[in-house]
Structure formats: structure tokens, C-alpha cells
Point group: C2
Amino acid sequence: MSNFNLRIVNTEGTRRDEIINTATKLFKEKGYSAVTMRDLATAMGMKAASLYNHINSKQEILKAIIISLAEAFTQGMETIKNSDETVIRKLNLIVALHVDITTKNPYGMASLNNDWMHLEEQLEYYLQLREGYEQDFVAIIKNGIASNEIVDTNPEVIMFSILSTLRSLYLWIPNKDDLDPKILAQNLSDVLINGINK
Amino acid sequence: MSNFNLRIVNTEGTRRDEIINTATKLFKEKGYSAVTMRDLATAMGMKAASLYNHINSKQEILKAIIISLAEAFTQGMETIKNSDETVIRKLNLIVALHVDITTKNPYGMASLNNDWMHLEEQLEYYLQLREGYEQDFVAIIKNGIASNEIVDTNPEVIMFSILSTLRSLYLWIPNKDDLDPKILAQNLSDVLINGINK
């Protein structure tokens, strides 16, 4: 059963999720620092006091948005890293992982990209997840260079190049309702891995 | 004679430039909205009243940072667009343009990327420059597809992929003092244009 189904049957969960979803949009529009709990209550059509029945602080919301996304990336990377696929196929799967997570939650990805530095006690943990993700990514690239599957260029330049594109997807996906995520992942994989030179 | 040399002989120019450079770093560290003219005066070791002898507002600084960078990109693109080079060579030159501008002013590029939406009367003009830049870029890609120089994939996916990487350079270049800009431009061109598949 998916996480989503689990949440549907939990009324408190869905109300909290609605608050988090509304906050995510507000953070995207105004920036985390500029949004107040009062703004959030207004956007939810609730009294501030009722809002606090569901959520304690803006920080709790930010943590819920960012940490769950960062953990989804880490979990996806673990699966890909430990699979028996070729390096090229692993890179295809990493592209698909980013397209999938970003398509499902582009506003959350905006928050991850723009607001992570506002995390307080979870900042260290977030940075560990990100660092671990990048280490796994660069290790896959180095394996591909060693096994002669990918070109012998600076592995950090390769990772930076792919990851910058994937991390910018949230800027682009919301405007591309007509683009099927599977086709986008395939096109992006082609461009990022095979290049564009004919 | 370069712009830089012109400014050296103009004392008022250099003082104003120092203020702009200091503000650029503060914007990067704290975000445009959080920086006050008082913070800037403190960082410059000046009294606020003296600061206002050189500059009228934060907005004037933001405009100076962002518009000059955006115009540099537009000017570079004009030259590349109107050259007689092949499409692949034009793309190499676009990569080199971004590496060059970002290497010279990574903090300014952070401001361009993060603070453009805080522009007031210049916002429309900035958006025109950006839109024009992207139109020229995608036209070059379409020419390359038409002339069979580059692969026939969605030209917007190709532009998005290259441009996201180039627009993220400011996040990466300040940590890479050991990377020669020319070598970086060459490596990035290779990865972006030829891909990494061996």
C-alpha cells in the first residue's frame, strides 16, 4: 500500500497535509522568511489558534517538506546504487527518480532548493543526506569511467552538469503540463548521457 | 580599453563599485530582503549618511548588479548569434560566455539567479532580456536540428538542460579555485554537447 493511501484514511493526517501543501505554495510565492503563521491561517481559511492544533511552527512545516523529499532521494539512490544495472542504466534511473519526485511535488522541490538553509536543528541531517547523495552519485560516475562505460572527464564536472539540470526541474516542470514524465525522463536521459552532437 | 580600466581612473566609480561589491556579497549571504542600507554601511565601515552620498537605495544596487550582467549575456549572445560559426561552435561559445561571466562575478550571478524578482521598475526590462536570450538560444538549437548538426530531440529540453547547468555555475565555481576557466569551459562543452556515453 502506498504512503498516499495510508494518509487518506487518517483525517488528522490529511488536514496536516493540506496545511503543509498550502504552506509549500506560500513559501514558493513569497519566500520562507516572508511567510507568517498568520498568512498561512488566512490562506487556509482558519483561525490562527486552530492552525496551532495541527502544527507547531513554520519550522515544523519546513522540516516536513524538505526532510521527506531528501529522504526520498536518498532511498531512491540506495536502491539504484545497490542494483546490478550498468552505469548508464543507473544514470537513466537517477534521471527518472528526479523527474518522478519533482513531477509529484514541484513546489516542495522549490522549497528544498531555496529554503534548505532556513532549517534549524535538522540542517545538519539535511546536509548529511545531500552530501551522501552526491558521494554516491560521483562514485557511480567513477565506476563508469573505470569500467570504460563513460568518457574519462572530470567526474565532478559530469555530476555537476547532470545534477544542476535535475535540480532545476522544479522551475520547468510546472509549465509543461503537456509533457509526459516518462517521455521527459527519456528525453533528458538522452540529452544528458548521449549529448546532442549528431 | 576594458570597462575595468575605465573605472580604475574614476575615483567616484571605484567607491561606488566597492559598495556594490560589498552589497553583492551581503545579498548572497543573507538574501536581498534581509539586508538593510544600515548593514551595508556597517560592512563598508561608513556612516549611513556617507553611504547615501554614493548610492540612493538597495534597489539602485540591485539594478546595477543584475541589469549589467543581463546586458552582458545579451551582448554576448548577439555576437554569437550573428557569427558565421557552426551551431556546435556557437554552443561552445555560449558555454564559454557563461563560464567567463560567472568566473568574474560569482556573487553577482547568485544575485541574478536569486534576487531578480525583487527588481522594481527594471523588472520588465530584465524579463525582456531573459526572454530574448532564451529565444535566441532555442533558435540556434532549432537551426542545428534543421541543419542535421544536432540530434532531433525537443529543442526546449535541450535548452533547458544546457541552460540549467550554466545558470548553476555560480553555485559551483567559487569552490573550484583550482579549475582553470578555459579547461572548465572545454570540459563542460564536451559533457553538454557530446554527452558522457563512450
